[in-house]
Amino acid sequence: MDVSCERVGEVLLPGDEFSFEAEENISLTVPVKSEKVVCGPGLRRCGDRLVVCKSGVLRHKEPNVFWIDSQQRRYVPAKGESIIGIVTAKSGDVFKVDFGGSEQASLSYLAFEGATKRNRPNVQMGDLVFAQFLIANKDMEPELVCIDSSGRANGMGVFGTGGLLFRVSLGLVRRLLAPQSNIRSDLEHLFPCELVVGMNGRIWVKSASVQQTLIIANLLQSAETMTAQQRQQLFRKVQQGAF
């Protein structure tokens, strides 16, 4: 555990490992607490070692969560993540939704709020849906739902009249969705806009005019490779309209 703590914030490559060495002096009086370590994405357990399987920066969240912050554009579905999908086909009782993965996910028409066998949801081909994964593993076809466990929509469902959809890297999406996100707070000071962020790297933005929507889309796409200072400078320039 101590070894890993020291390496938080470092760039690690696949194959690097941490091992937990037993302490040399085990006290007989103080009860020894067994420490649990929660491994996030990018880390894998091999026996009693933690091995890194993706290159990136090691992050740590109290008390015992570790993960690797890596950069990629290709999305691999994971259970519970909410994504933006495009409906490609209607076959029987399910919709086929493309989310940018290797397979298309299925979305049952009953998985919408207030949908019954008679009351079908109004979903057309080519519509955008904001849904979350119910089943997402490498052995089965991924399955999406537009309701949460209590049966409420909670913001999910069909959306997207009049906005622009574009792709960014997964890292930027995670930065946008972080609880205290700098990018999001900078964006708030700019124009009023509606933003839907999918964890599969797709962002939908809608603003008052076409021009503003295009500006926001271009800003987000270029904010990927900028430092915080450059980004704030850029946003300030746009705000003043002196570009």
């Binding site: 495009i86 490609t88 493309d98 940018g100 057309q124 080519g126 519509d127 955008l128 997207g160 009249t161 009049g162 906005g163 622009l164 959809l165 939908w204 008052a208 005019s209 076409v210 021009q211 503003q212 929507t213 295009l214 500006i215 889309a217 271009n218 270029s222 490779t225 746009v238 003043q240 309209g241 002196a242 570009f243």
Partner: protein
């Protein structure tokens, strides 16, 4: 693999933006993306970047027997490969409709324009002629493959050096690869790619714009402003004046692109003479911090300035709230409330005192047509890196 489907909202947005003459990356309707030309180590290898679209062309030659019908002329062979690297929708080995279309278009452009004098390719009449083969590989598809492919093919042909031959009786020996003779390239041209979305014309569409277009008009023109070929596909109806406008635009673009190509060739020749390292591996700067630098996207901000000014103007000009005058009893006016004097104004109050709304909170974005277009990045002719 299948391509990502185009959602309805994207299509609607793109069409709406095109109606307002706005493009996704901030270009004007008749602007090309940034063109970058770089050369490989061999003669005849050239890479062309048209924005994010990237293609590579390679020219090679071989001595073969000529066709029976044309014993004095050399043979030219063109091939465009759509590799899966370029787009998930392209499949390796299969001749898709797009690939057939591109191949035919390129062949027609390059043959009809007579840019290579095929009679000069003849070595021994009836027996040995040069067969020139141009292979174009698409590396990334971001729209407008046709233009990128034609620029790459022409530049590669200009760059190529054919080995000298000496004939002794019936024997033909290839002397050496180092002694090269220059091509006599008669014409250079540019295929101008336009797409029509209902009634709007766009030049150099990117991949999204290509998906929503109704039809395509390709004009191949050489630098003497002679049209070599025109092709219109998609079944769109074009007015005469639209076609004329397109050909004029093509004329302008041809001169720009020809200049770019000649400059690139000149720079490459200088670099090779100076003995410097040249070639694709050298043109990619790996160790510098600017290796992955992205170019500035010119996004039009004029609307934003107008909006800001509009807000300021409205802020100043909006009249202050006038509360209705308080007249407790006819003949008695209450002064001191609000800004209007209500003394002796009994007769006027019914018609003049309208409640003026305070519209400082409502921001209207002006769609005024008076755009003074600011060119953010002046087009600088590119040098190969």
């Amino acid at each position: 693999m299948k391509d990502t489907p185009l959602s309805n909202c994207e299509r609607d947005f793109l069409l709406k933006a095109i109606e307002e003459k706005k493009r996704l990356d901030g270009r004007q309707t008749y602007d090309y993306r940034k063109i970058k030309i770089s050369f490989g180590t061999d003669y005849g290898c050239c890479f062309v970047d048209l924005g994010q679209t990237r293609v590579m062309a390679q020219v090679s030659c071989e001595l073969v027997a000529p066709k029976e019908s044309r014993p004095n002329e050399g043979i030219m062979f063109f091939n465009i490969e759509l590799s899966p690297m370029a787009s998930p929708g392209f499949e390796q080995g299969r001749q898709s409709e797009l690939s057939v279309k591109l191949n035919r278009q390129l062949e027609r452009c390059l043959r009809n324009s007579k840019c290579i004098d095929t009679e000069s390719l003849c070595v021994v009449s009836g027996e040995k002629v040069w067969q020139i083969r141009v292979d174009v590989h698409t590396l990334n598809n971001d729209g407008n493959l046709m233009d990128a492919a034609s620029i790459a093919a022409i530049t590669a042909l200009c760059h190529f050096r054919r080995p000298d031959v000496s004939t002794q009786g019936q024997e033909v020996t290839v002397v050496s690869q180092q002694q090269h003779s220059r091509w006599c390239l008669i014409h250079l041209f540019s295929a101008d790619l336009l797409s029509t979305c209902s009634t709007y014309l766009l030049v150099d569409p990117c991949e999204r714009e290509e998906r929503v277009m109704d039809g395509l008009l390709v004009i191949a023109m050489n630098k003497h402003r002679e049209i070599c070929s025109i092709q219109s596909s998609g079944g769109i109806m074009l007015l005469k004046e639209q076609v004329m406008r397109c050909s004029k635009i093509a004329g302008v673009k041809v001169s720009e692109i020809t200049e770019l190509i000649s400059e690139a060739l000149l720079n490459d020749r200088k670099a090779r003479k100076a003995g410097g390292k040249c070639g694709f591996a050298e043109s990619m700067q790996q160790d510098r911090i600017t290796a992955l630098k992205k170019d500035e996207t010119p996004v039009e901000m004029t609307d934003v300035t107008e909006t800001a000014n509009g807000i300021i103007q409205k802020g100043e000009a909006a009249p202050q709230t006038v509360p209705s005058p308080v007249l407790p009893v006819p003949g008695v006016g209450q002064v001191g409330q609000g800004l209007q004097n209500s003394w002796g104004l009994e007769e006027d109050d019914e018609d003049d005192y309208e409640e003026e709304k305070n519209d400082n909170n409502v921001v209207e974005i002006s769609d005024s047509e008076e755009e003074d277009v600011v060119i953010l990045n002046p087009e600088v002719p590119e040098k190969p890196k």
